[in-house]
Symmetry: C2
Subunit: 141 residues, 2 copies
């Protein structure tokens, strides 16, 4: 058995507002979206939005939580200028600035923002992870 | 500009232990892994492990956090028996049981577990999201 990460769901407080936020970043909602669930189709894994309290309920967890959730999502782009441009777009769409973009110790260029619910996103140019035809980073096996 | 989710990093307290946990689930570490970062290569998005405190520092956030982080990661599998089998494998490897697997309101079959750091995973069979040749769920545009 070989497990693959296929879908990431973000629990959010206002699904339509978050849908607009992610559409401003360039994600396109799939026709499979319905009611209070939004699916952004690939290439790449599916990104889904769902009300936070219902996501906790679905997982069988209490909904409360605070502070850093320990997860960072990343968008890899082709060069440093695209990092700056995408972070500017996110901030213009209502993101909160976290670490400003800059050269980082591992040899790339990246910065972070938080979405309207505090979900942590990195935008990175990693010269060691070339992007494939779908714009997704590819690793050696 | 079209943004794609390319990489998900989980902040963990013990990288070698978490690497063993995810390898038990069937994830295979890429040769790009080094030091205290582990990359599980595709198909699908890259899943990475990194010390939680250093991930918070990289994002420019205080490391503290508690309770539900508002994110659920999902592995989609081909049938109900695979859901049960993968959850059993995860529990055997040290996962904490969350909601037991069962039929769900949206017409599929799923259950949840938490990894050793509390990261929330769903294992799902979704008859409406067929798996492609790489074993990844595909949505209509």
């Amino acid at each position: 058995m070989s497990a693959r990460l296929g879908l990431v769901t973000l629990g959010v407080s206002d699904v339509p507002a978050s849908r607009r936020f992610y559409e401003a970043l360039g994600f396109r909602a799939s026709a499979a979206s319905q009611g209070d669930v939004v699916f952004f189709a690939g290439p790449g894994p599916i990104l889904a939005l769902y009300p936070r309290a219902r996501l906790a309920e679905d997982a069988g967890l209490p909904p409360g939580g605070a502070g850093f959730g320990g997860v960072a999502l990343a968008i890899n782009v082709a060069d440093e200028a695209e990092v700056d441009a995408l972070i500017a777009t996110a901030l213009g769409a209502g993101a909160q600035a976290l670490r400003p973009a800059g050269r980082v110790f591992w040899g790339g260029y990246s910065g972070y923002f938080a979405d309207p619910d505090g979900h942590v996103w990195e935008v990175a140019h990693n010269p060691f992870f070339p992007l494939d035809a779908d714009g997704l980073p590819r690793l050696p096996a």
